[in-house]
């Protein structure tokens, strides 16, 4: 290449912030294939999150509890509003709904084992309830989804709670998809569809449309289950104040609120990254709805979408949640995206930590697959033990923080225990910016 500068300094190459390398790569991929990108997981973009909040801790004005000695309770009751048999959990960290089909049978078993060891609940998913999942889960929440794959009254009655899924954080307003390569004989039979075809899960329920209908649907489910089990309603982080209000009006015992960082088995990347709100922006609005109805704590709030640590658990609860749910984090605890499979991730064109083509069924860790050979790599007993360990660590972490704030129960954490590091987080979480008593939009602040 000829240097035409005559020795003068060259202008340095500047990458466009707008047309970045990842964006340009996606444009080239789209141009080559003519199809949008489908992937699993939740939003990967950076959004204001729990990391942008801090606990203040106790000092003179607040009295701390001894970190290793004094009692800090963690139990929670879910479904106390109408159900005869609320779910009693030892810890406020539950396992979110993930389908048999998206996950292997052994992976679902491991979730049940881990949750049971830790004293919490796990949740079915789109595809019905498997016997191994029921058998290994002391507390099992049965999802009632638009597809109604595998739905039947016997499983409804052997569930410990029913979760009506209206939406999820990764794709509020969207349905699901399970590509044909993951449709084994067993998955096909449970869903009553031919083997090998791509299965769509509808974006809305087939037999009710609005909140008034939903109230009657809940009545039917309660009649079928003799009013014994709690009814949860799961919503994506779209309009949390109004959606929570309507869920409660429809008769929910528990509202499950899922932010955009919450994962999905498969949907369009453009949907995951561009629809829905971060969980940080949703929690206080949902709590405000419950408070306005006079039902905060009577209708329990379960928060999910990007919960990773005990600090996240404590922050969600300080903002008003009664419990949290984890999905992606639970899969990582089982062994998903483990660097020990790096060579195989590389062969799939990705790397450990970034693998999200769960829908293709070629998961090296043997978790998000129906391939019998890959499934052999995953030991459900070991997976359950790992999940239980992780849940215990999260609980200990949350207790450590709660004690430092002087709280004898995780539920006693409160917004006043928090401060925000950024203006955005302060505005979304309605938590004062660190060093101030102010957050954007604070009533009476004038602006």
């Amino acid at each position: 290449m000829t240097d035409t500068s005559n020795g003068a300094p060259l202008t340095a190459p500047i990458q466009s912030a707008t047309f970045s390398n990842p964006i340009n790569a996606e444009i080239r991929r789209a141009a080559a294939t003519g199809i949008y990108d489908i992937r699993g997981g939740g939003a990967k973009r950076k959004v204001p999150h729990f990391d942008d909040l801090l606990f203040l801790g106790a000092s003179i004005s607040r009295y701390p509890l001894e970190g290793y000695r004094e009692k800090c309770e963690t139990s929670v009751s879910l479904g106390t509003r109408f159900a005869k048999n609320p779910i009693e959990l030892d810890i406020p960290i539950t396992i979110a709904g993930m389908s048999f089909g998206a996950l292997s049978g052994p992976a679902k078993e491991a979730l049940g084992r881990g949750a049971t060891l830790a004293g919490t609940s796990t949740t079915t998913g789109d595809g019905g309830m498997t016997s191994e999942e029921r058998g290994h889960s002391n507390k099992l929440v049965y999802q009632y989804l638009p597809s109604r794959y595998g739905m039947n009254p016997d499983d409804l009655r052997r569930a410990d709670a029913i979760e009506i899924v209206v939406g999820q954080g990764a794709k509020p307003g969207g349905g699901g998809m399970l590509l044909g390569q993951k449709i084994s004989d067993r998955v096909a039979e449970m869903r009553n569809l031919p083997k090998g075809i791509d299965q769509r899960s509808a974006c809305r329920h087939p037999d009710w449309t609005g909140p008034d209908d939903l109230e009657i649907k809940i009545l039917e489910l309660r009649e079928i289950t003799s009013w014994k089990v709690p009814i949860y309603i799961k919503i994506g982080g779209a309009r949390p104040y109004f959606d929570t209000t309507l869920a409660v009006k429809a008769g929910a015992d528990v509202v499950v609120l899922d932010g955009m960082q919450g994962g999905t088995a498969a949907t369009q990347d453009v949907f995951i990254e561009n629809v829905g709100q971060p969980i940080l922006a949703c929690i206080r609005e949902s709590v405000r709805a419950l408070q306005d109805l006079g039902l905060h704590r009577e209708v329990q709030l379960v928060v999910s979408g990007g919960i990773r640590t005990g600090a996240d658990v404590a922050k969600a609860m300080a903002m008003g949640a009664d419990a949290v749910a984890i999905g992606t984090a639970a899969l990582i605890a089982l062994g998903d995206n483990d660097p020990k499979w790096e060579a195989e991730y590389n062969a799939l064109g990705t790397t450990a930590g970034a693998y999200d083509d769960w829908h293709e069924g070629r998961d090296p860790a043997g978790i998000t697959t129906q391939d019998p050979e890959l499934m052999k790599r995953f030991d459900p007993i070991e997976g359950g033990r790992r999940l239980s360990n992780y849940l215990k660590v999260m609980t200990l972490e949350a207790q450590t923080i709660a004690r430092a704030c002087g709280k004898s129960h995780l539920h006693n954490l409160e917004p006043e225990d928090l401060c925000a590091l950024t203006m955005e987080a302060a505005a979304m979480a309605k938590i004062p910016l660190a060093g101030t008593d102010w957050y954007p939009g604070k009533p009476g602040a004038g602006y």
């Binding site: 199809i35 109604r148 009254p153 569809l193 087939p206 037999d207 009710w208 009545l219």
Partner: protein
């Protein structure tokens, strides 16, 4: 005949009484009077009993039914026999939206007309409608048979899977991936049997069969619009 009068007892007591019937019960004949359009009547039954509802019902009557025969001597509100597993539900009048939605088995007979989304997402149930059905019926229907002695509304069988649709009258329009298919002898036999079970006075030869073109079974860009 046992009588449950909804003027005297609450829905919960009525359903609990029916739920308490065992497989071997001698009390097989039940009558529900004064339903007055209540919702969730006789839902979740699981015994070989026969229940006659003397009047019209609200939403989700006979929902998730197993084994029982339920006769509605009136019209039915939305979602009648939704997710039915087995048994028989017969409606003398009309049925509102979502009749037989997601049903896995059994027979649903509607002697009048059915509104929109009849048989939506059906998974093995057989539905026979003596009259007409509304728009978007058999949307994403997976398996089973939908027989319509009258006409069908817009977008019949949109995104259909393996359910069979038989219509004697006109079809206003077919939904995505739903096409008319050859009526073979085995289909005529299925149809004749269902018409007989449903007490419908119609000849199988007068019907046309519709089913999935199976072009949407695997995701590709040409299907994305």
């Amino acid at each position: 005949m046992q009588t449950l009068d909804m003027a005297d007892i609450a829905l919960r007591e009525m359903n609990a009484t029916l739920h308490a019937q065992a497989e071997t019960t001698n009390q097989t004949a039940w009558e529900i009077v004064n339903p007055k359009g209540a919702h969730a009547i006789a839902c979740g039954l699981d015994a070989p009993i026969e229940v006659t509802v003397k009047g019209s019902t609200g939403y989700y009557c006979a929902g998730m039914n197993k084994q029982a025969t339920i006769n509605i001597k009136g019209s039915a509100g939305p979602g009648v026999a939704e997710n039915m597993m087995s048994g028989t539900v017969v409606i003398d009048g009309d049925a509102s939206q979502y009749a037989g939605a997601t049903g896995h088995g059994g027979l649903l007979v509607i002697k009048g007309n059915a509104s929109s989304r009849c048989g939506i997402s059906m998974k093995g149930i057989n539905i026979v409608v003596h009259g007409n059905i509304g728009h978007m019926s058999a949307f994403m229907a997976q398996s089973g048979n939908l027989v319509v002695c009258g006409d069908a509304g817009d977008a019949l069988g949109d995104s259909l899977y393996e359910a069979r649709l038989f219509v004697r009258g006109s079809v206003k329009s077919l939904g995505a991936d739903c096409i008319e298919k050859e009526m073979r002898p085995e289909h005529l036999a299925i149809l004749a049997d269902l018409l007989e079970q449903a007490g419908a006075d119609a000849k199988p030869e007068d019907f046309k069969r519709y089913g999935s073109a199976r072009e949407l079974y695997n995701f590709k860009i040409d299907n994305a619009y």
